[in-house]
Symmetry: C2
């Protein structure tokens, strides 16, 4: 499994061709797992939560895979997520598989590799795939865009919810967990009420493009939990199971996955177009001058864009 994922993560052209062939072969064996996205700021207790949840699920007979998307790893080359030592017991369990974040490439590229790794895990028989990300950057949207359910972990702090609302992460959440609730029960209860109210307001005026919550089906819930003490993990999984049943019953799960796959295809196309543009010799020759003139204000940005697009086109025709 690790070898297959490594092959898919390779950027070598021959590996890529083999990887595509492998993926196409694996696809019929995928899709049976439940894909759970988990996000939260550093310090919210993601590792402890996933370890507690993973062991709970294994005890129930599930096989669990944990993948990570760490936007910081694309800069530093090192991942703050997916470090196996963080999940002491889960990482050594034979029914669990933990894979750190791919450590190079754009967020789009990292997300694509993680999606492919997810398919490998599913084909290998893991029936719960957890994709975790840290709450910085745009990685939450990527994770929500590849999972069946997106869970946001929050601390029982005032202001934490405002940050999540601001970044548009709150409205992606199918479920909000207030972790470390045992530390201050009153604060956790206040946060629960506050977030519940915010979710209701957000849902009312929701942007129809992002709204995957229909009032008649599922209201995003807010649960209190203490991963460290293992409190609330069972209730959490019951909520996940309820959500999953509702989504499967009326075809929403299948529809969500279709939309996600198409969005993924278009994201990869746009990324590929931009890459080809930036690597084109005629564009590379012209770009510094165009950039300079636009910055100096001697050339309109739209004119510069048209010249560069023309250069790309002409070069493509001459090249053949």
């Amino acid at each position: 499994m690790a070898k297959a994922i490594t092959l898919l993560e390779s950027t070598r052209a021959d590996h890529r061709a083999q990887g595509d062939a492998l993926l196409t072969e694996l696809l019929p064996h995928t899709g049976h797992a439940f894909r759970l996205g988990i996000s939260g700021v550093p310090g919210v207790g993601k590792s402890t939560f996933i370890e507690a949840l993973g062991l709970h699920l294994i005890a129930q007979g599930h096989r669990v895979a944990v993948l990570a998307i760490d936007p910081s790893s694309t800069v530093s080359g090192g991942s703050i997520l997916g470090d196996k030592t963080r999940m002491e017991h889960l990482s050594v369990h034979p029914q669990a598989y933990i894979r750190p974040s791919p450590s190079s490439g754009t967020l789009g590229g990292v997300a694509a590799k993680t999606r492919e790794a997810m398919l490998v895990c599913e084909a290998a028989g893991h029936d719960v795939v957890i994709v975790e990300t840290v709450g910085v950057g745009q990685s939450e949207t990527a994770v929500a865009g590849m999972t069946d359910m997106f869970v946001l972990l929050q601390l029982p702090n005032a202001g934490d919810d405002l940050q999540a609302i601001k970044k548009g992460v709150m409205e992606l959440a199918d479920l909000v967990v207030i972790n470390k609730a045992d530390i201050d029960r009153d604060a956790a209860t206040r946060a629960q009420a506050q977030i519940t109210s915010a979710l209701r307001i957000l849902g009312q005026h929701g942007n129809p493009e992002h709204a995957h919550h229909d009032a008649s089906h599922w209201h995003p819930q807010v649960l209190q939990l203490s991963a460290l003490k293992g409190e609330g993990v069972d209730a959490f999984w019951q909520a996940v199971t309820r959500f999953r049943s509702l989504q499967e019953a009326d075809g929403r799960l299948a529809s969500r996955r279709r939309h996600q796959a198409l969005a993924w295809m278009w994201e990869r196309i746009e990324s590929g177009l931009k890459q080809a543009f930036r690597q084109d010799p005629a564009v590379r020759a012209l770009l510094p001058q165009m950039t300079n003139e636009v910055e100096q204000g001697t050339l309109a940005a739209s004119t510069a864009a048209r010249r560069l697009l023309d250069a790309l086109k002409t070069n493509g025709e001459r090249h053949a």
Copy 2:
């Protein structure tokens, strides 16, 4: 002026070439105006506000242009903004120019046309250009991305601010105006306190990519105003002038405009690349099958994307 703008709005290739030549000629005469972006939900009183502000500015010797970006007009072909009858006195004033939203194209295309119209207005001697948009869709980001200062109009209602925070519009605001403050002074004062506090929290944890507010320079302000009664318009313009002086003094205005111009160039490039992709005959031939297989789950989205990109490339080479 209207003719120049109409030329720039044309999609005909020969018009486009003339338009580019015109723009390049006009550019040295642009950039001296102050560019003010104004957004707010329908019913917040944008027209009344702009009419009051525009007449106030003309009385001070300014020449005012009002442009509009209406995301709904790209769908309906008709604009709910820029209707001259909305600004009864300003629209007939010789020192004012009002132009409705371009009524076709994508939001990116409409924004590009509006940017070009803005340059024409500046070259024609208008020293205050107001770009207004209605608070639906992503048009606020487009307007904030082409103006020197972005002002958000809010109603003295609870929940209104939460919507703005959710959509990421609040953090774009250099200034928030609570309009219709005369209707309910207490509510307006409560809203002012609430938004001031929200702006402080947003500023503290601000995403550095979007943060153009430096604590030492400008804290986004919240003002109460009644456009209908003309109350607060003078204080509003004083705040704008203060902001402008600060921004000009340390080169932030020039830097903001450079960034905006480059972002505009890249936005137009990406849009052009996507358009060329969708119009390519080989892509058009292959796209329905790829879309179908991705939706059915028989082909990985990343594999489909690679095949389509290969088809585009091969076709470009064969075509020449």
